[in-house]
């Protein structure tokens, strides 16, 4: 009986490489994405290892200054555009959004596959730029450096980012239409899992912001390739306009990285506390608020450019406001755990790790959003530490928490629980050891993007490099046991965590069309209390 269900799983039929490369099944595309982003995480991680090794000593001994510029640029470009932005939406989101909607697939399956191919094409171009000698502009491609001064392969790398941007737009576009038009009967907006709310908000940012950076990159390309003048100060163009257009997307892009992680944590925190999420509608609306207000704060990246201080003042104030919905989420997660029946499974560790790291990352963001203080902290390691706490401490912890939570559902396999807990602790400790010293060293005045530094900063940098080794070991451990789980029998139960949600009512792994009968939703999300009551009554 059990065997029969497994035989119909989406992993088995149809067979063959072509059936995977031409698949329109959102679950298979999610796995294609999972494999590709893992590859790019490893590539980006190797560049990070290079950076940390160089910074163990005050002298620039491992890399020349030029080489170091390329290493940190590629670390940033690969990690942001080819790992973090697609990480949760394109893998967990692709897998779960249709299932949580009670649908057989996303609204546009072929466009979903196209999105993966665009991602691969864009990523390959950027890797091609690495093979041809690298790029040294920093991940921000600031003009006039990227348009006039740099002699590296900027056009090729930027073209890769441009193309990958469209893959992101197509993902967001698919999610919005699916959530609007494909929900099962009974699945009203306020019965939706918060994961869907978070992905809806993320998709808004993707479709409203990404096109602006796309045209901006195209303009830089036109300057380099055709000799046009858009940002060229020699004819009166303003390089700061590039910064405006770039950050109009790239600040909201931070929310593309963190909002889906918040969605994951909302699911996990309810599941491990066995409780309805505290203040459901506040958490739901706060996702939208972050997405919308997040579009009004980009100028806080430009306090030390020629931006007017009056504009800076407005951007600074709105930056304080955007902290409110993030705080609403954090408080509500904490309140959800309060008096919950907390289970100490491996997802619990990721939830707690996320909350701690995101809290530090968010609060230090307020330091940087304060216009006066930012003049001191701008372009120091304080900034580096802050955004790593958000994007790695928040984004990657959320991603890994989600992968651990839904791994049995996605693959039908179980990983060793103890190893999962050890990995979570290693990542948490290693992460703090890597990046907390950077707050200190940045506050003391160490600028980012240099391969050499004064001797008095060495102790903190050695601590940071040591932490990076622990962090790397944590990631490798995860990779090892997740890959090893493929060599074990496919015996995951349908609902290993006892969680609520449509995805847990279907077999692990799901069948190709997800549901045998079209589901009808009759209860609110996270109705753990109601379920427990029903179980007692039966």
């Amino acid at each position: 009986m059990n065997h029969d269900i497994k035989a119909g799983s989406y992993l088995d039929a149809p067979h063959g490489i072509a059936s995977w490369l031409l698949t329109k099944d959102h679950k298979r595309i999610a796995l294609l994405y999972l494999i590709s982003i893992t590859v790019f995480f490893i590539i980006g991680g190797i560049f990070a290892a290079g950076i940390r090794t160089e910074l163990m000593t005050p002298e620039g001994d491992l890399f020349t200054a030029d080489m170091y510029n390329k290493v940190f640029t590629l670390h940033g470009v690969v990690m942001i555009f080819f790992f973090l932005i697609p990480s949760i939406p394109a893998t967990l989101g692709n897998f779960l959004v249709p299932i949580m909607c009670g649908a057989k697939d996303l609204a546009f399956p072929r466009i979903n596959l196209l999105s993966w191919y665009l991602y691969v094409a864009g990523a390959s171009l950027t890797i091609g730029a690495v093979a041809l000698g690298g790029v040294d502009t920093g991940w921000t491609f600031y003009t006039p450096y990227s348009s006039m001064a740099s002699n590296t392969n900027v056009t090729l790398a930027a073209l890769g980012v441009f193309i990958a941007g469209f893959s992101s737009i197509l993902t967001g576009f698919n999610f919005i239409v699916t959530i609007h038009r494909m929900r099962a009967p009974g699945l009203t907006w306020f019965r939706m899992p918060l994961f869907l709310w978070a992905h809806y908000a993320t998709s808004l940012v993707m479709i409203l912001g990404t096109p602006v950076v796309a045209i901006t990159i195209l303009l830089v390309g036109a300057e380099r390739a055709l000799g046009f003048a858009i940002f060229d100060p020699r004819v009166g163009g303003d390089p700061v306009l590039f910064q405006h257009l770039f950050w109009f997307y790239s600040h909201p892009a931070v929310y593309i990285m963190i909002l889906p992680a918040m969605g994951v944590i909302s699911e996990l925190v309810a599941a491990v506390s066995r409780k309805q999420i505290f203040g459901y509608s506040f958490v739901a609306y706060s996702s939208l608020a972050i997405a919308i207000i997040g579009f009004l704060v980009w100028g806080h990246h430009m306090f030390v450019s020629s931006q007017s201080i009056y504009a800076g003042l407005v951007f600074s104030i709105i930056t304080m406001i955007v902290a409110v919905p993030s705080a609403v989420k954090t408080f509500n997660w904490t309140a959800t755990m309060y008096k919950g029946s907390i289970t100490w499974d491996s997802p619990t560790y990721w939830v707690l790790g996320f909350m701690g790291l995101f809290l530090i990352g968010g609060l230090t963001g307020l330091f940087l959003g304060t216009m006066g203080l930012d003049v001191h902290l701008h372009d120091t390691y304080f900034v580096v530490a802050h955004f790593h706490y958000i994007m790695v401490g928040g984004g990657v912890m959320g991603f890994l928490g989600g992968v651990h939570f839904w791994w049995p559902k996605m693959t039908g396999r179980i990983y060793p629980e103890t190893a999962g807990k050890i990995a979570a602790v290693l990542v948490f400790v290693g992460f703090n050891l890597t990046f907390f010293p950077q707050f200190v060293v940045g506050y003391l005045g160490m600028p980012r993007r240099y391969h050499a530094y004064p001797e008095e900063f060495q102790i903190l940098n050695v601590l940071s490099t040591g932490g990076a080794a622990v962090l790397g070991a944590g990631y490798l451990l995860i990779l090892a046991y997740l890959v090893a789980s493929f060599f074990k029998p496919r015996n995951a139960p349908a609902n290993p965590w006892g969680a609520t949600g449509l995805e847990w009512d279907i077999p692990s792994p799901p069948t190709t069309f997800n549901f045998e009968h079209d589901p009808v939703v009759t209860e609110d999300a996270y109705d753990y209390v109601g379920r427990a009551r029903k179980a007692r009554e039966n």
Binding site: L245, F295, L296, S308, I309, Y310, A311
Partner: protein, 98 residues
């Protein structure tokens, strides 16, 4: 969703658009001083609205489509407004570079 407009409506919109095109060429030759560009944009906006409402059928579409169609323009205002808010206030402090 499957609203079918009459051919007569389409022809009326078409004639209005042609007339407005003539009007925009005509007013471009008049000097309204600071109002030159606003007048031209108002006519272009009116033409775009006619195309969106009738040729694209938004008038007969769901409220959701209306919101989506409007959202792009709202976000443009954010982009234009906040960026120009920087450039237009740069000289307020009265000394160069700040």
């Amino acid at each position: 969703m499957s609203h079918i407009s009459s051919k007569r409506l389409f022809y009326t919109i078409f004639v209005s658009l042609i007339i407005l095109t003539g009007l925009t060429v005509f007013v471009a030759r008049q000097d309204f001083g600071a109002m030159n560009t606003p007048v031209a944009l108002a006519i272009a906006g009116l033409k775009a609205t006619l195309v969106i409402l009738y040729f694209m059928g938004v008038r007969y579409n769901t409220p959701l489509t209306k919101v989506v169609a409007a959202s792009g323009f709202v976000w443009l205002i954010i982009l234009f407004g906040m960026t120009m808010g920087d450039y237009l206030t740069r000289s307020w402090l009265g000394f160069p570079g700040r």
